[in-house]
Amino acid sequence: MPIIKSIQELKSLREEIQNKRKKDFSERHPIEIKVAMATCGIASGAKPIFDFLIEELPKRNIAANVKQTGCMGYCYAEPTLEIRIPNQDPVVFGYVDLKKADEIIEKFIKKGELVDGIIPINYIVAN
């Protein structure tokens, strides 16, 4: 990566990233999955779920961008996933285990059906 030499370069890099993300989201992998993987999430078993998603989604022909994030704040319901599918608000699932992850892929991602264990988003983010 070349060094960012000015504020204009930083700005254009940001725009480039944002555009690429939009393009990826509409063309390459329209589904985005975030797995909360701070120490607490990992301790509750988020890592096997992360690995399961990375491994299973291509096998089931689902183009998704799976990524790790920090703590979402729902410590009581770890492990947690946030899934964004096109034209919908992101949905957060709590108490996810491998069985639940499988159900989420088959029902929510493939058919758009909600499954048990949804966490309604309870905060506003300052951006």
Partner: protein
């Protein structure tokens, strides 16, 4: 059958809603939907707590995003008829109608945690995408160092590590100290048991801290930053190292940042996890390789700190707020919160509360909203007793404080403190004397031993509390306890000793009856202190099966076969095995 809009009904399965609901709403909805032949189109989904427990049971109609509160099975017909069949909202049940004093239905507002859970902390482009490093760029190109300081001062940001000192003022003092080298130190030595917000910020959004440290460096005229982090946080350290490496690769740290000629670099120092090293001067000594002992202030670190140079020490959460303040302006930040405490505060909810977790609320939110709405109420429907804020240095707050708007000053006035934001919630089963004993045990272990009041005083306080919990205390001890607490508080060298008696003083203030019960009536009202427990065998229920006697590890139970057994109170060690093993509920506690 004509087709209806596909919908989901999300039903809150949080334990409070569950307890309030007289019937099983899931089954009730399912059978009603079948009756209306809607079960094909409308799905009932179990949901985790909505954080609106005061108005439960709650449901959400998805995807319309309409939220109904205080729903009972009598309301189902109306919801189906109006909403599901005719797309009309049942106004009387809408959340905002039910919950009168609410401005917004979302009580949490995330500033410090704005990126936690949204970006990949190990990928710098994720942070740049979310406007990352824009604040640093803005400071370097548009503001003079003094303007940055003025902006932070105007925002009203106060240190989130516990003291609540004005961050802008701290920066200004350090900037005015003349020296060839100054330092920016990030205090990531989160020692307060029950607090985990600093770890979460570093694990979820390390770049925001790096960016803020660089901004601080620019404002005060420092070129070196150091993160002092406890070695007990391996994942936070790993992610911080990755973030630092990436920031250097992108030229956002190092020489000539963004072509402005500004130079700033950050290194990491590991702490061994001593509580006292959260105190600035002790932290600096620890960084210098000396014993982690505090020294008397002044001189303040802002004048003479790390290696004798002016040093600005701020906490992780404080830093995490800085980029947002620069990007959105001090006016925006100052518009949130209370008169003297601006912005938001992250709290780590722990203890006997349903939704344990990390929450960020505007200053001035009441304890009730935090515990009952966001926290989902007390576990197992028990009664709220107290909440310990500020960790071992804080105090406990009780039911009468529930409607207190939380900020630095109100907590201080109520005899507690903000601290780093740990909130440990206790229910009716928790003994307050025992709680104070627990915290004193912690401070005794963590005292550095430099000054006598803290080293010896806390030890004696701890011994007195053990004595009271062991049923050996007298009323005289209570007097002594109070007096010594005041002495330790007044004469200790640093913040650790000056605040360590707080758990005793605040529990004595709020729960004096409980102390009296221990020494006068020889009872522990909460039933937690083992020394006061007596196990007895009920004459009615005991059938003389001898199971308890066989399992008692100290042979304290005697009795013939098929005759009522007796526990010898002298030998009994109160382990509770007999009670566990008895199949006839014949053993009871007084």
């Amino acid at each position: 059958m004509n087709t209806h809009k596909k919908r989901n009904i999300l039903i809150c399965q949080g334990s409070t809603c569950h307890q309030v609901a007289k019937e099983n709403l899931i089954d009730a909805f399912k059978s009603k939907l079948k009756e209306y032949q809607l079960d094909e189109d409308v799905k009932v989904v179990q949901s985790v707590c909505f954080n609106k427990c005061t108005v439960g049971p709650n449901i959400i109609i998805h995807p319309d995003n309409v939220e109904y509160s205080t729903v009972t099975s009598d309301d189902i017909d109306e919801i189906i008829m109006l909403h599901l069949l005719n797309d009309k909202i049942v106004e009387r049940l809408v959340y905002n109608q039910v919950y009168e004093n609410s401005g917004s239905d979302k009580k949490q507002y995330r500033i410090a945690l704005r990126n936690c859970g949204f970006i990949d902390p190990e990928v710098i482009v994720d942070y740049i995408e979310k406007n990352g490093y824009a604040a640093l760029g803005k400071c370097l190109t548009e503001y003079t160092p003094q303007q940055v300081i003025d902006e932070i001062k105007a925002s009203g940001l106060r240190g989130r590590g516990g003291g609540g000192f004005s961050t802008g003022l701290k920066w200004e003092i350090t900037s005015k100290s003349e020296a060839d080298q100054k330092y920016v130190v990030c205090n990531a030595d989160e020692g307060d048991p029950g607090a985990f917000m600093d770890r979460s910020v570093l694990e979820g959004d390390p770049h925001s801290v790096i960016e803020a440290m660089a901004i601080c460096g620019y404002a005060i005229g420092a070129t070196k930053g150091i993160v002092y982090i406890r070695a007990e946080y391996p994942l936070a350290i790993k992610r911080l190292q990755i973030a630092l490496k990436q920031a250097k690769e992108y030229g956002l740290l190092g020489r000539d940042i963004l072509g402005t000629g500004f130079e700033f670099d950050i290194s990491i120092k590991y702490g061994a996890g001593a509580f006292v090293c959260g105190e600035e001067t002790a932290l600096i000594h620890s960084m210098e390789g000396l014993r982690g002992e505090p020294t008397l202030k002044p001189p303040f670190p802002s004048v003479s700190g790390y290696l004798g140079k002016p040093t600005n020490v701020n906490n992780v959460e404080t830093f995490a707020n800085i980029p947002a303040i620069i990007n959105r302006g001090s006016k925006w930040f100052a518009s949130i919160g209370t008169e003297k405490s601006k912005g938001t505060k992250v709290f780590a909810l722990a203890g006997k509360v349903n939704n344990v977790g990390l929450v960020e609320v505007p200053m001035g939110t009441t304890l009730r909203e935090v515990i009952y709405d966001i926290g989902g109420g007390i576990k197992d429907g028990k009664k709220f007793k107290a909440v310990q804020t500020g960790g071992p240095s804080g105090g406990c707050l009780t039911e009468k404080h529930l409607d207190l708007p939380i900020d630095f000053d109100t907590l201080m006035a109520a005899g507690s403190m903000m601290g780093s934001g740990g909130m440990i919630i206790m229910d009716e089963d928790d003994c307050m004397v025992s709680m104070a004993r627990f915290y004193l045990e912690f401070t005794v272990e963590e005292s550095c031993g430099k000054c006598a009041p803290c080293r010896i005083g806390n030890k004696r306080l701890h011994e007195m509390l053990i004595k009271i919990c062991d049923d050996k205390g007298s009323e005289e001890d209570l007097m002594l306890l109070k007096n010594l607490s005041t002495v330790v508080k007044d004469t200790s060298l640093c913040g650790l000793g000056q605040t360590s008696p707080n758990p005793i003083l605040s529990t004595m203030e709020n729960f004096y009856d409980e102390y009296l019960a221990h020494v006068k009536d020889h009872k522990c009202p909460a039933g937690q202190c083992k020394s006061f427990q007596r196990y007895y065998i009920s004459e009615q229920n005991c059938i003389g099966c001898m199971v308890c006697a066989r399992n008692c590890p100290v042979n304290a139970i005697s009795g013939e076969k098929k005759e009522v057994h007796i526990i010898n109170q002298e030998t009994c060690i109160k382990c509770g095995v007999c009670m566990e093993k008895c199949k006839f509920d014949a053993i009871y506690l007084n």
